[in-house]
């Protein structure tokens, strides 16, 4: 037992060292591209201003002013109908703590928080890949994440890395049947992004394992975990109601981003029709659904459900930011590892494509192109 524990510790230590190496490589890669882009296009070379854009600015507003009482003008939202309610509280709360701890400006604290969770995400992801796919796959898994096509969002004050880390942690805890801890991870996830609540449904799919084990006395813990898994979202909704009057304002304010929530099925069907036209976000969404079906065929209903839900929910409101949502879904990257790791040539080709595309996205990011948002 002691030997096993010690061996596990060594393995985790190795994984952490690997995660640190990949994290540094990812940071250097992104910084190098930022330097090249700013030099090539004569853009301002201030690192923080260049990195903290778009959503990061909204998180900055939460850190500095709190959640708005009223909608207001904000850059492209000239109608004055936008507000920071769309941005869930877990990430800015943690970044606020980082800002206090390090005594830094809000923008820098947000970027540091993103980066910290990138490191943790890589560590958690290679641990999960090792447990599910074998030790020989973990380095490839780490590389896929560290050179994700949308890696810019891990270095720019976005919530994606926190979301990825909590998703991976949640699945690791579900594997260990640590129901209450998995519920807490789910609760935090539901306070991180609007689709975080889908983890509650994933959690339910694991009930069959409990039924199969027939171990007495575990159901109360499982039910408590389930109750905890949506608590973050419920607390945020209660806060919004008492703060500005509308518990669903985070969804309602999506109109400022040209997203509709009125008749999701209709919008979804129309977008599926449109997907047959050459359109990168739609094609990617279809590929994501295909991966969900692939997981379902392999009887991994938990991954299938998370991918399907996290694709269909945003897709039913529009296509904006769809590539980012897909490339920051942990099961999507895990599926890619499973599919590609069997063939070294395919793996190498994918990594070349991924790193190349991440370079392209970094260029579009610093040129303020909506493709990167």
């Amino acid at each position: 037992m002691v030997i096993k524990q010690g061996y596990t510790r060594v393995l985790h230590g190795q994984n952490f060292v690997l995660a640190c190496v990949l994290f540094i490589a990812s940071s250097v890669f992104t910084d190098l591209f930022q330097y090249l882009v700013t030099q090539a296009y004569g853009l301002p070379s201030d690192w923080v201003t260049g990195a903290c854009k778009f959503d990061c600015e909204w998180y900055t507003s939460i850190l500095e002013k709190g959640y708005y009482l009223e909608p207001m003008n904000h850059h492209i939202h000239i109608k004055g109908d936008s507000a920071n309610w769309a941005f869930f509280p877990a990430f800015p709360l943690i970044a606020g703590a980082v800002a206090s701890l390090l005594n830094t400006a809000s923008e820098l604290a947000l970027i540091i928080t993103s980066k910290i969770f990138l490191l943790l995400s890589i560590f958690a992801f290679i641990t999960l890949a090792e447990e599910e796919l074998g030790a020989d796959k973990k380095a490839f898994a780490g590389l896929i994440l560290a050179f994700n096509p949308y890696i810019i969002h891990a270095h720019s004050g976005y919530t994606e890395t926190l979301y990825f880390f909590l998703t991976t942690l949640g699945f690791l805890l579900l594997r260990r049947k640590s129901w209450i801890l998995a519920g807490i991870a789910g609760g935090l996830l539901s306070a991180t992004r609007p689709v975080g609540f889908i983890f509650s449904l994933v959690y339910i799919t694991h009930a069959w394992r409990l039924a199969k084990d027939k171990i007495p006395g575990v159901w109360p813990g499982y039910i408590l975990g389930l109750m905890l898994s949506g608590l973050g979202l419920a607390c945020y909704m209660a806060y919004l109601h008492f703060h500005m009057g509308d518990a669903l304002s985070f969804a309602h304010v999506q109109i400022a981003w040209w997203r509709h929530l009125g008749d999701p099925l209709n919008v979804l069907m129309e977008h599926i029709k449109l997907a047959w036209e050459p359109n990168f976000p739609s094609l990617l969404a279809l590929a994501s659904l295909a991966m969900s079906i692939w997981f379902a065929i392999r009887r991994r209903f938990d991954y299938a459900l998370l991918i399907a839900g996290s694709t269909l929910v945003p897709w039913s409101t529009g296509l904006m930011s769809m590539p980012r949502y897909i490339f920051w879904q942990m099961p999507v990257l895990l599926g890619l590892v499973q599919l590609l790791a069997k063939d070294k040539l395919l793996s190498a080709l994918y990594l070349i494509f991924s790193a190349g595309m991440s370079g392209f996205v970094i260029v579009t990011w610093f040129k303020n192109n909506p493709f990167a948002i």
Binding site: P71, D81, L224, H241, A247, I255, E270
Partner: protein, 192 residues
């Protein structure tokens, strides 16, 4: 189980909060019901006789609110059935007696040759959009009781995608209301 029960009761409380928002009517129409695309539009000085020029940003100060109209585009604004089945324009002050309602509008292909219902208060008039080119339409109303809302209800729409997903039917350019009968008014539509 006690902790689970407490959290469950909390969820019920949150469900109640979701069902009972405490917001202004303006917020409710724009964000929750989504029947208008106007969020606190800028107001400009205008007269009812000059009319509501849909090609201008904002609204004249004699307009209280609109519903079922898409955002401003070059030339005017479309009715959008996705927001509301009919366009509704509410004036600040009510109208009464004999009135001439003049509408400059264009119909989408699907609406061509089909009926449009125009309601002013409880009175109702109909006309056919016989072309997909911009046309002027003049309708006589005799109001039995004061009214300040105009509803324009097309029969058909076309679904269009762009930044917004919309169901458009009539492109509105101008809406004028003049006291008296249309035949007696000094506005000659043919000269427009």
């Amino acid at each position: 189980m006690g902790a689970s029960l407490i959290i469950f009761l909390f969820y019920i409380g949150v469900a109640y909060l979701i069902a009972s928002p405490n917001v202004s009517k303006e917020y409710s129409n724009y964000y929750i019901k989504r029947n208008t695309s106007d969020w606190r539009p800028a107001k400009y000085s205008g007269s009812i006789r000059e009319g509501f020029d849909f090609s201008r940003a904002g609204q004249p100060d004699f307009i209280q609110a609109t519903m079922g109209l898409s955002s401003l585009e070059r030339g005017g604004r479309w009715t959008d059935a996705r927001l509301a089945p009919f366009a509704k324009i509410t004036y600040q002050e009510p109208f009464s007696g004999e009135l001439c309602l003049i509408l400059h509008a264009v119909a989408v292909r699907a609406q061509t040759g089909k009926e449009v219902i125009v309601r002013l208060g409880s009175e109702e008039k109909r006309f056919i959009t016989d072309t997909d080119k911009p046309q002027w339409y003049a309708l006589d109303f005799r109001l039995e009781s004061p009214a300040k809302t105009i509803e324009i209800e097309p029969s058909a729409f076309e679904t269009v995608f762009g930044r917004y997903y919309r169901k458009i039917a009539l492109g509105l350019y101008h809406l004028i209301i003049i006291p008296g009968k249309c035949a007696d008014t000094e506005i000659h539509l043919s000269k427009k």
